[in-house]
Amino acid sequence: MTDTSATATAPVLTLSNVRKKYRGRDALKGISLQLFPGELLGFFGPNGAGKTTMIRCISGLLKPDSGKIIRHTVSENGMSSPVRLGLVPQNLAVYRDLTVQQNLEVFGRLEGVSGRNLKDRIAEVLEWAALNDRTRSLAKTLSGGMQRRLNIACGVLHRPNILLLDEPTVGVDPQSRERIYTMMEQLTALGAAVLITTHQLEEVETRCDRIVVIDHGGIVASGTLSELVQQTIGRLHRVILRFDRPCTGPLAPFVFDEPRTSATYAIESMKELPRVLAGLKQLDQEPSRIDVRSYGLQDVFLELTGRSLRE
């Protein structure tokens, strides 16, 4: 979908200490990050954390109060050119009373694509978004999943080097969600840098190359999922023991909850599990049930942002 080289290592986007006061409060408090070609970056945070403000700043809709947002140049066909930006807003940002084909035409023209080139790219994205049998349908008559795919298709017609997607999978069924992420992976495979904001934990966990957790306008953690877990919880797995009756004696290093019928313990590796179970047997405290769970983004997220409700 893009001509950008997927092997390039220089960032296409750099944010340096970006600050923005929005409607009387600090929406962004010194955000710094880099986005690389071919990367799928998940921006994850509670409501009101500043995700949308950051996307609006990156896209130029909002001007930061301080800090720098640098869109680097990219090398295409041996020539250096400024990066092209694509935006897919959270809502269905297409003309509902235009057909699929007409929507693609007008958004292509707005991005400076015209003539034969436009025709070719429309055919390309129609196939990419699996909408080629609905070209003459009005956007408002499409299903929710199709509308979302059209929304994204309109944002990639001009082959952006950076694609910003604000919660692109809200309200779509699992099949459409799968298709959308497949589309994203195709884009990144061709070298586009994709930044997604979402609330969907499993999407970020399984699909994103890198995760940035944002809260109260600042980045609280950044990295791959395992890096985040290591940075926050320090262990990868959690052992949960359940007992038929309340435990009496101490069972260090397990942490009991009241009324002492269950206990948890974090382990680095599954190889540690037999040793832990042997220790329990020695103490004559055999559990009725043992669960082992891997720590996920939700644990990291709650560890980082707490359990208090947000906006």
Partner: protein
């Protein structure tokens, strides 16, 4: 359950100030507008006066008397178009130009014109031809024609009665200079017609010596009855031969329309055997058809133009709400392109909308659009440009589609009511007309009126076009200034 549903209904109403505005404020606003129009406007019995222009080729004693008579009428406000006519008198061309300018100024409901051969005295008419008094109307409002006709008729009836009484007094035995039996004509006829009754009441003539006294007394009603409101009813006295009195009796209200129709043809009435011939002239009538329909078309077109313009400008708010505007702003298009493109679309659609309306009016009602194409195009473009800018500004300052809908209903209907799209401007008081000047409707309708009614040249539209295009530019610039909010989110 019903109470719960009712509670939901009430809570929603309470939490929606726009709906409250439409439900409670709008009717009051409209009531107030129409109350002001009808309480200070036409046919209300208020202190609003008909504005009568006066122009006379030469100053004659009879003409001066007639003007003084008009000025004493509490319903008329008489103003000279030319304060001091030259001693040689005004020629027809000058008078026509003055009248045309006065009509187009919109400051007069009717113009009274006395021709060059207007006599010095009613008794000294050349060849006993009637005195010609021309009432020049623009045909918009039939009421002034009917009213001034009655007043002028009353004046001549009084004048004739005065002459008759004076002649009668001379005829009575023992009166100095009394004519002999050879005297013929009016006095003789009057004598034969009424000598019997008058001779039975010699004390009447002993006591009364002036015409004003005659008609101010109860006995005067024998000659010329005066009704309670002071309006002179002519042609009903058996004491005066019918052919002596005004050629034009007061028109009953139901005759206003026919009066207007007759005005189109030029001469309303005329009879060489009568004392006065009141001629109603409509300078535009000979070369136009259905100008009134053209004005209705313009009024309705501007009203709906405002509604459709605000409706299409609302797309900006829809795009902002859906995020489409953000997507466009991230593309190569800037705010200027977005505002400009939408403004152009509303402008072209507006031009087309008005054109369709006038084409229909031309095809079905024959408003002669073909003869006024240039003026029509100029006014249509100016009006559509102004409304497009206004609609874009409204969309820019409103926060949501619902807010825009409510605001546009209130503003557009108010502008249309005050500006003349609902009620003809001539029916409004001067104050209401002045207020109307703050609306596009008024300027647009004034312009279309000049084109279709007065058939003025395009150059005469200078003021209207300047105001409309100036407003368009000013509001457009204001829109661009305020449109930065779309970027601020």
């Amino acid at each position: 359950m019903i109470l719960t549903i009712l509670r939901i209904f009430c809570l929603r109403l309470r939490n929606n100030p726009l709906e409250l505005l439409l439900v409670f404020v709008m009717p009051v606003v409209f009531f107030s507008i129409f109350a002001v129009i009808f309480s200070k406007g036409i046919a209300t019995g208020s202190d609003t006066k008909l504005r009568v222009g006066w122009i006379s080729s030469q100053q004659t004693p009879l003409g001066t008397e007639l003007r003084a008579f008009l000025e004493t009428n509490s319903s008329l406000e008489c103003t000279s178009l030319v304060e001091t006519p030259p001693s040689a008198g005004l020629d027809d061309a000058t008078m026509a130009a003055e009248i045309s300018a006065a009509q187009q100024s919109g400051q007069f409901d009717l113009i009274v014109r006395l021709p060059g051969d207007f006599p010095d005295d009613i008794a000294n008419r050349t060849g006993r031809r009637p005195c010609v008094v021309s009432l020049v109307t623009d045909g918009q409002n039939p009421v002034p024609v009917a009213m001034v006709t009655s007043v002028v008729s009353g004046f001549f009836a009084q004048k004739q009665a005065t002459v008759a009484v004076e002649q009668l007094l001379r005829l009575l035995p023992g009166t100095p200079n009394s004519p002999g039996p050879r005297d013929a004509g009016a006095a003789g006829e009057l004598k034969s017609a009424s000598a019997g009754s008058l001779c039975r009441e010699p004390e009447y003539f002993d006591a009364v010596r002036t015409p004003a006294d005659v008609f101010g007394s109860d006995d005067g009603s024998r000659f010329l009855p005066v009704d309670e409101s002071g309006v002179t009813a002519v042609g009903t006295s058996s004491a005066i031969p019918e052919r002596w009195v005004s050629s034009r009796p007061v028109l009953p209200p139901e005759d206003h329309a026919s009066c207007s129709d007759q005005a189109k043809t030029g001469v309303l009435s005329g009879n060489a055997d009568k004392a006065v011939s009141i001629v109603v002239e409509n300078p535009q009538a000979a070369s136009q058809e259905n100008p009134r329909i053209a004005m209705y078309a313009a009024g309705i077109a501007v009203l709906f133009l405002l509604f459709s313009a605000t409706g299409h400008a609302a797309a900006l708010l829809e795009e902002a709400e859906s995020g489409t505007l953000d997507r466009i702003l991230v593309s190569r298009a800037g705010l200027f392109h977005i505002i400009g493109g939408k403004w152009l679309g509303i402008l072209l659609l507006g031009c087309l909308q008005i054109t369709v309306m006038f084409l229909w009016a031309d095809a079905v009602f024959g408003i002669q659009l073909g003869r006024h194409v240039v003026g029509f195009c100029v006014m249509t473009f100016s009006t559509a440009a102004a409304t497009a800018s206004f609609a874009m500004l409204l969309a820019t300052v409103c926060r949501s589609r619902a807010q825009l809908n409510a605001a546009s209903v209130v503003i557009v209907l108010s502008m249309s009511a005050v500006g003349g799209s609902m009620i003809p401007r001539f029916a409004m008081s001067e104050r209401m007309k002045d207020i109307g000047k703050w609306t596009f409707n008024a300027w647009a309708l004034d312009g279309y009126q000049k084109v279709f009614w007065f058939q003025s040249p395009v150059s005469s539209l200078q003021m209207e076009v300047t105001v409309l295009l100036g407003s368009s530019v000013a509001l457009g610039l204001l829109t661009l200034m305020l449109s930065g909010r779309w970027k601020r989110g």
